[in-house]
């Protein structure tokens, strides 16, 4: 009797998604599907808008990383003006970007993934959430909340508000940073750096003490992609796009504006989210991963000291070859958070950020612009075409989590195949399937506090589609 297992909804991802797992007659996993059930239509309804509106329209794609869209869109608009923005403006934009990375990564680890790691995969579901974390380690929980708040505060102080600010405009930014605000932001940053390093220790210790499980948790070969700066350093704001194959060879490096020659998107019938792939390798072999794992795999170094120290340890985890296990996303993510904090401090200490030279205005000079940036979840691409009067004629967006679509499906598939044996599906397995998705921190990692249990419905159907049995975990 074949069976379909439905996990709906997958919680803590933006919008609606579900997982369906089809078992064959022997109770083995036949196929899994990761359905993303959301389509907004931004690529069509932006047509006709005046292009400077894009940095304010597109953040409404996501309320967790609006800054990434805001900045990606602004960069595309800069290209339309064919203008190089003043250095102080670039620093301020990068600063709020670091704020977002800090907020997003810290929150995801401590309040989302943390409970699984700190309290255990199979621990009591009622406590396997941030409340349980507060009970088990209140000091750590407090540090976690403060870290999130700090990242948000950078954004609020510099850009005006935490969610959907209007700050980056074509040609620069629309406001400067006062000395008082800068001093307030610098205060205590070293404490935050040590908080995040505690997190790094936690994940690293967990990995070392659960080495085999960590190394095989949804582990599979793939390509990797991310921005790199000079000398192959990790770059989150600006850089060239580097593509690495599954064996760790850099097979391509290109400026973001030429992405169309290198990246294609496939459509699958069972999900609204398209599947990007690397064109030269085709749509069977060309899938790659982005986000922390992808970025740290393609990078050769990190330009800030503490992060770089940890980076060297990370690189050694698979003997110098690309790190493949999905679980290592958590480790990579925290290393990036250390970088973001150190980089934020560098920027705050740069005297240029107090300058009022923040805007280079001008008319439309170029009929299209591409803005590419590393959102916390991966590479984000905004591409606009405009007419001479500055109206958007076309828009193409490849959103960060999209690149990981194939990988998330694969991860779910791996876990399902690895742990589902026969018709009996224990609770811990359901949690691990979600855990596989959580590694990728897709789009909305609902900031938080998973209080309670994941509602899961497992339904058993026969060939005729009759419901034979159902099990609910409430």
């Amino acid at each position: 009797m074949s069976k379909k297992i439905t996990i709906s909804p997958v919680t803590r991802i933006e919008g609606h998604a579900k997982v369906t797992v089809y078992l064959n007659d022997e109770g083995q996993v036949d196929r899994t599907y990761f359905h993303v059930d959301q389509f907004r239509g931004f690529e069509k309804f932006s047509e006709g808008r005046y292009f400077p509106e894009m940095p304010v329209i597109t953040p409404r794609i996501c309320g967790i990383c609006p800054i990434s869209h805001h900045l990606g869109a602004a960069k595309a608009c800069d290209e339309i003006l064919d203008v190089k923005i003043p250095r102080p403006a670039k620093l301020l934009r990068e600063l709020i970007h670091m704020g977002q990375v800090i907020q997003s990564h810290a929150m995801h680890f401590f309040e989302l993934a943390g409970p699984d790691i700190i309290l255990g995969w199979d621990s009591d579901p009622a406590l396997r959430n941030v409340v349980g974390l507060v009970k088990a380690n209140p000091e750590l929980a407090l540090k976690a909340v403060r870290l999130r708040k700090y990242g948000q505060t950078i954004i609020e102080e510099v850009a005006g508000r935490r969610i959907h600010p209007t700050f980056a405009i074509p040609g620069g930014v629309n406001n400067g940073l006062s000395v008082e605000k800068r001093d307030r932001l610098l205060k205590g940053i070293d404490d935050y750096i040590s908080h995040i390093q505690e997190g790094v220790s936690i994940i690293r210790d967990f990995i070392m003490s659960h080495k085999e499980e960590s190394d095989t948790f949804a582990s599979f070969p793939s390509g990797y992609m991310g921005l790199v700066g000079k000398d192959g350093a990790l770059e989150l704001y600006d850089g060239a796009v580097r593509m690495m194959d599954k064996d760790g060879h850099v097979i391509d490096e290109f400026p973001g504006k030429y992405y169309l020659s290198h990246i294609g998107e496939m459509v699958d019938d069972w999900t609204y989210l398209k599947l990007p792939f690397f064109k030269p390798l085709g749509d069977k072999e060309g899938f790659y991963r982005v986000g922390p794992l992808g970025r740290l795999n393609v990078a050769e170094k990190i330009s800030t000291p503490k992060a770089h120290e940890e980076f060297k340890r990370f690189k050694a985890m698979n003997g110098g070859k690309p790190v493949e296990s999905s679980f290592y996303y958590h480790y990579a993510r925290l290393i990036e958070a250390v970088y973001a904090l150190e980089r934020a401090r560098q920027i705050l200490e740069d005297p240029d950020i107090l300058s009022t030279d923040l805007l280079h205005e001008g008319p439309v000079r170029c009929g299209e612009g591409v803005g590419i940036i590393e959102a916390p979840r991966g590479t984000l691409i905004h591409h606009y075409w405009v007419n001479d009067d500055g109206q958007i004629t076309k828009a193409n967006l490849i959103v960060a989590s999209g690149h990981n679509n194939w990988a998330m499906s694969k991860a779910v598939d791996c876990i399902a195949r690895g742990y589902i044996k026969g018709n009996d599906v224990p609770e811990g397995v359901l949690n691990r399937i979600e855990g596989a998705i959580r590694c990728y921190d897709p789009c909305l990692s609902c900031s938080t506090h998973a209080i309670g249990k994941m509602p899961m419905v497992v339904e058993l159907y026969d060939h005729a589609g009759n419901l034979v049995d159902a099990r609910k975990r409430s």
Partner: protein, 180 residues
């Protein structure tokens, strides 16, 4: 202590309103201390709120048949429905798709976008079917209270919940009203 149970869901939105909700930071803990009980919300992982839940908070507009069902279900189970954010209250930015047909939207997204290769719009039954027009929540079910904003600031959300928890019906006056 009198408790107020609260459930929430999101439809066609970006989750910014829920993020703003969490931006209440420690004031959320304060509200929980005053009797706010979170039942089925994205932050509590329960899917189905119990019948008779006091407050049902909805973020996002109604754009698919799935959203229609979710919203009706929540109305059925909650005594008071609150529309949170411009999308839920006015339809929000999603209504920019109302000037196009569903086919035009899907065609652009899945066929003609420059990076798409051999695309065709997805048809799986697992996916929600797009309604011809995005609707605000109160075009589908009765809404008892509206909190506009994109997103509504955390202090506005706090004010409303605090009033409700203390047994008063809030009124959004000038400083607490935002359309952006």
């Amino acid at each position: 202590m009198k408790t107020i149970t609260m459930a929430s869901t999101w439809c066609e939105g970006c989750s910014g309103c829920h993020m703003s909700f969490l931006d209440m930071d420690e004031r959320l803990v304060e509200l929980i201390g005053k009797g706010l009980v979170l039942t089925a919300t994205p932050i509590t992982d329960l899917k189905i709120p119990p019948m008779g839940t006091d407050l049902g908070i909805i973020e996002g507009a109604v754009a698919t048949d799935h959203h229609m069902e979710d919203v009706k279900e929540l109305r059925h189970r909650c005594k008071m429905i609150v529309a949170l954010g411009d999308c839920a209250v006015f339809g929000g930015i999603n209504t920019m798709r109302n000037y196009f047909t569903v086919d035009e939207l899907l065609h652009r997204g899945y066929v003609t976008t420059e990076s798409t290769v051999n695309g065709t719009p997805p048809t799986s039954n697992e996916l929600g079917k797009l309604l011809p027009k995005v609707l605000s929540v109160h075009e589908v079910v009765k809404v008892d209270f509206f909190i506009p904003g994109c997103p509504p600031p955390a202090n506005v959300i706090y004010h409303v919940l605090n009033e409700l928890v203390e047994g008063r019906v809030p009124r959004l006056t000038q400083d607490l009203l935002y359309y952006d």
